[in-house]
Structures are given as structure tokens and as C-alpha cells.
Amino acid sequence: MIEVRNLRKSFGKFVAVDDLSFEVRAGEIFGLLGPNGAGKTTTLRVISTILKPDAGSITVNGCDALREPERARAQLGVVAESNGLYDRLTALENVRYFARLYDLPEEKMAARLRELSPRLGLEEFAHKRAGQFSRGMKQKVAIAIALLHDPHVLIFDEPTAGLDVMTARQVRQFIKECRRPEKCVIFSTHIMREVEELCDRIAIIHKGKLAAMGTFSELQQQSGQKDLEEIFVELVEGENRAL
């Protein structure tokens, strides 16, 4: 569903993503794991066509993201670390605004909201302004917005950052429920436990490069370590030593 080939993105002299290749298949949750500044967010921004790569190619559900960025974006639902809600609009007004940008007719939006609201518990604050929301409430509305148009590809960039334990748990549960045969999820985090809990396959990124990729058991076999944190530390320290 997503194919990233030889992706490179630099900001001036700083190379944020260096020759990165991976693919995400339908029906799987794919974890992008890496320390802060590893290049995870840059990779996701390039896939979302917000940033243009220096080199490489990206295909989103069969669509060339570099040639047809608008069509590619229509296939994506993105939940970024910053929820992107407008504080002076109510939850419903925020949802309605994004629905219009996704060309979703009012009836379809309403039907989709009826489906999503109970799962995310949006009913209680639908008519309240987002400025009054807790971070968790905002994140739930942001997830609803990302799922409104029923996208084929879901991107979650550090979705549980700054959330309380209960809300983070709800968000993880929701991501699990997004696993469908015709869809895929990319999940970026630096929290090992979340990756272990959610992801079918994992790509470990360090300093913009792919350090390792595979299922959890494949990574265990490759490194000889049982714990994902140990695998991660060994890979990162190994890379640092090599550099």
C-alpha cells in the first residue's frame, strides 16, 4: 500500500533522511521506531507530501505521491503529534471544516461521525470549543478528522505523546481496531512497549537511515536479544560505534 524507495531529504547540509526504503502492506500496522531526531517525522511528512524529497519515490495505494500529491493525500489520514485543531471552533465545526476539505458531503460526514463518535467518546464535547479541551480530547477529535474520509492509509505520528495513561490506552486500542485487510497503518513512536503491543512489522531508524526492519521475532533473531528495548539499544549503539 505504501512503497518508499531510496528516500533522501536534507535541510541545508543536514541530512534528515538518507536512502530510506521500506514498504507497508495492506492489513498491517507498521511501526517506525527511532530516537528523537532520527528522521521519523520527516519521513512521514514526505509521505504526506508536505515536504518534497531530494531523491527517491513514494507510492501511496498505487498513486505516485510526487506526481499527484493531492490524489495521494486523499488516500491518507494523518494524526500528527500536534492535533491541528482550531481553538475557537467547536469539535463539530473543526470536523466539518476538514470534511469539506476532503470533499465529504454533509450526509456522509454525519454518518461517519455517528460511527466514530461512540468509539471515541466525542458526543459529550462535540459542541464545545476546542480551546477548552484537554490534550486527550483534542487527540480524539484529531483521530476522528483523520478517519472521516475512511482513508486507505493511516499515519499516526507519536499519537500518545503527552496523553494520560487512560487516554493513551484508548488511543492504542483505537489504532488496533483500525487494522483492516484493505488498509494499513504507519505508527511512529519512540515508546518500545507501544510498538511491541501494536505493530506487525517494525523499521528502526537511526540518524535518517534504516538500521533494521522486520517482525518483532525477526528482529529478535537478527540481534539475539529478547527485549525490543535491548534490540533498539544494540542497534543504535552499534550504528554510533560504526560512525
Partner: protein
């Protein structure tokens, strides 16, 4: 580019603006309430001070007044000048304001006048003090009466009629109607305000929809939707434009309100001569529409330019500091037109802002110069389109959008 997307962005930005207290203050409260204070306040205070000073009694000292008894007698008829008996007064008293004027009469003053010999009074005054300046004006008026009395006596002594000095009289009659006069007075003030509000009336919204989105981290969520950047920019620029036009119209409303308030409060009594109080202004719909069209030209160009500039800035604070110099930048050409008689030519009509101020002035004077209006409107349209192009280019630059 899709109209539905542009419409959605425009609606959302306007809703957001309407709910923003700072924007509302800028669009409605400032022009509507501050405008009367701004327009009427300084003139009213100046006028009031002048009236108070004219009615107030100033104290003057005449040294060696015994040599000018007739002058002292004439001075006694002045109700608002009082002769001080402090003979020890000197220049310093005028300097510090203890007395308004110090008049020194030369020895044998009236004797010399009687012999028709030249003589001179010495008057010390302080131009930095209002009461001294006013006392000087009053004293000059008294001297004029005194002078005329002497001349009349001299002519009488020679058996010549005083009519000799006034072979004819004259009367001036204004050919301008009250409305034209009103337009003339307005042409000094209104273009500046119109140009200013048409240029920066939407700046708070411009900041909010650009660098405000960056600072609140809402931009990324917007950029991952399928909307094309051109549509996004157009929707946002149109929202700024709408707010700007609304602010400009409210400022005109505030201005009219100022005039009406002026007429109500200062329309009678001592302050009747207050410059804006009795203005009679009436414009036809064509003039009003043309002024609106010219204002719309500036608003369109400035909306797109401020959008591009504020997209480039790193923080709301930085954008606000840019607003200051934009305001001054706009005011300079408006001031030039305000204080100089400029005959518009093709060159001046191609200078943005400057051309609009020139046309505003002409329209307020009731002059419908279609060529000037046409050149101004067409050039404004071209500048607006170029500015929108710049705004789109800026918003397509990822280094601008993610500039930290």
C-alpha cells in the same frame, strides 16, 4: 483549484476571525469608537484651549505709561487685557509667565506723536506661551484702533476726510456649495484613513491565518488534506480581504459618526466654528461605489502581500512588528497627497497607494476623472494579481512554512 475548497477556507477563517476578540477590536471597536476620539479629540482640545485663552484675562505691564496716557486709556477699554501696576517687572517675568507682555513706552512718546515725529514701542513677548501669544494678538488689535485714532486726528487737522484711506470696500462670496466645501475638508482627512484601513484593517486576520497557524501548529493538519495550495492561499487571502473591506467600511462609518457627533456637540455656541462640526457632506452612489472599488484594489493587493510576508515570519510578535512599518509605509504617500497639490499623471497613477489616495481626493472633491480612475483600478488589479501570485509562491515553499 477548487471553488468549494476556497469557499470552505474562506468561511472557516471568517468564523475564526469573528470569534477572535483581538480581531473584533481591530475591525469594529477601534474604527468605530477610537475614530471619533481621534478625529474630534485634538481639534476639540485645541479649539477649546484657544477659546478659553481668548476669554481669559491676560496681565500686561506697560513701563513708562505716563508718557502714553491715550494709549493707556485705549487699553482700558480692552476687557480681556489687564494692566498690571508692577513697575518692577522685567523680561524674566515674561519668560516665566508671570505677565503676558512687557511694553516699554519711550520717553515723550505721545509728545513725539503729536509732533508727527517717528517713535517706537518695545514689546517683549514669549512665543512659547499661549497666553503671551494671545495677549500679543489682543494688544495688536488695540494698537490698530489707537493707530487709526491718531491717523484720523492728523487727517482731520489737515481738513482731509478719513474716507481718503478707504477708496473702496470689497466682499468675497464663495462659489462652492456647502457640500463641495465639505468634500474639500474631507479630502484632507478621509483619504488617509481610508488608505490606512484598506491596507492594514485585516492585518490581525492576516497574522492569524499565516504565522498564527504555524505557531499554534494547526498548519500541518491543513497541509495533509487534499486541498491544493492555490485554493488554500486564495481562501485565506479572500478572508483577509473581506475583513479588510469590513474594517475600511466601519472606519468610514466611524468617521461619519464623528462628524455627526461633532455637529451635535459643537453645532452651536462658541464651538460652532469647530472645523468638522458644520460639515455638510453628501455623495452620490457612483462616488461611494468608486471609492469602495479603489479601496478594494488596495485591500486586495495588501491582503495578498501581508499574507505572503506574515507566512514568511517566524512568530506572531515578528509579524506584529512588521505591521508597524507597513502602517508608516502606507501613511507616507497618503500624507504627500494630503499636503501637496498634485496633478495626477500616468506615472503617479501607477504608484500603488499613492494613486488610490489621489483618486480618493478627486472623488471627494466631486471630480469624476474616468481616465485616472481607470488607470488606478486597472493598475491595482494587476498589483493584486501579482501579489496573489507571490503569496501562492511563498506558501508553496516548504522552507517558509517550516521556518523556525
Amino acid at each position: 483549484m477548487r471553488f468549494k475548497h476556497i469557499w470552505a477556507v474562506w468561511r472557516k477563517e471568517l468564523l475564526d476571525t469573528v470569534r477572535d476578540r483581538r480581531s473584533l477590536i481591530m475591525i469594529i471597536i477601534v474604527p468605530l469608537l477610537i475614530m471619533p476620539i481621534f478625529v474630534l479629540g485634538p481639534s476639540y482640545l485645541m479649539r477649546q484651549q484657544k477659546t478659553e485663552t481668548e476669554q481669559a484675562v491676560q496681565e500686561i505691564v506697560v513701563r513708562n505709561g505716563t508718557d502714553a496716557p491715550s494709549l493707556i486709556e485705549t487699553l482700558g477699554t480692552a476687557k480681556t487685557l489687564r494692566l498690571s501696576d508692577r513697575t518692577d517687572a522685567d523680561e524674566n517675568w515674561v519668560q516665566v509667565g508671570w505677565v503676558a507682555l512687557l511694553v516699554t513706552v519711550p520717553p515723550g512718546f505721545e509728545e513725539k506723536l503729536a509732533k508727527e515725529e517717528p517713535t517706537a514701542l518695545e514689546i517683549k513677548f514669549n512665543p512659547t506661551r499661549t497666553e503671551s501669544r494671545t495677549a500679543r494678538e489682543k494688544f495688536e488689535a488695540i494698537l490698530e484702533i489707537y493707530r487709526q485714532q491718531i491717523v484720523a486726528k492728523r487727517l482731520e487737522a489737515r481738513g482731509v476726510s478719513a474716507q481718503l484711506l478707504q477708496p473702496f470696500s470689497e466682499s468675497y462670496q464663495s462659489v462652492a456649495s456647502k457640500e463641495q466645501l465639505g468634500g474639500f475638508v474631507l479630502s484632507f482627512i478621509l483619504p488617509l484613513f481610508l488608505v490606512m484601513w484598506a491596507a492594514i484593517g485585516g492585518s490581525q486576520t492576516a497574522i492569524d491565518v499565516t504565522v498564527g497557524e504555524k505557531e499554534r501548529k494547526t498548519l500541518e493538519a491543513l497541509l495533509v488534506t487534499p486541498i491544493r495550495r492555490e485554493s488554500l492561499v486564495l481562501g485565506k487571502v479572500l478572508a483577509i480581504f473581506t475583513v479588510t473591506i469590513a474594517a475600511a467600511m466601519v472606519s468610514v462609518l466611524g468617521f461619519i459618526l464623528s462628524l455627526r457627533l461633532g455637529a451635535v456637540f459643537f453645532g452651536s455656541g462658541e464651538l460652532r466654528s469647530f472645523p468638522l462640526a458644520s460639515l455638510s457632506v453628501s455623495f452620490g452612489p457612483v462616488i461611494v461605489l468608486l471609492m469602495l472599488a479603489v479601496a478594494a484594489g488596495i485591500a486586495a493587493m495588501m491582503s495578498a502581500l501581508t499574507f505572503a510576508l506574515f507566512s514568511w515570519t517566524r512568530s506572531i510578535r515578528e509579524a506584529q512588528s512588521h505591521t508597524t512599518w507597513i502602517t508608516f509605509g502606507v501613511m507616507i504617500p497618503a500624507f504627500v497627497v494630503q499636503f501637496r497639490e498634485i496633478t495626477p499623471d500616468l506615472g503617479s497613477l501607477l504608484i500603488p497607494i499613492f494613486n488610490a489616495t489621489l483618486v480618493f481626493k478627486e472623488l471627494l472633491l466631486g471630480q469624476l476623472n474616468w481616465a485616472n480612475i481607470g488607470v488606478t483600478l486597472s493598475s491595482s488589479l494587476v498589483y493584486a494579481l501579482v501579489s496573489v501570485g507571490i503569496a501562492v509562491r511563498v506558501f508553496q515553499n516548504e522552507r517558509v512554512l517550516f521556518r523556525q
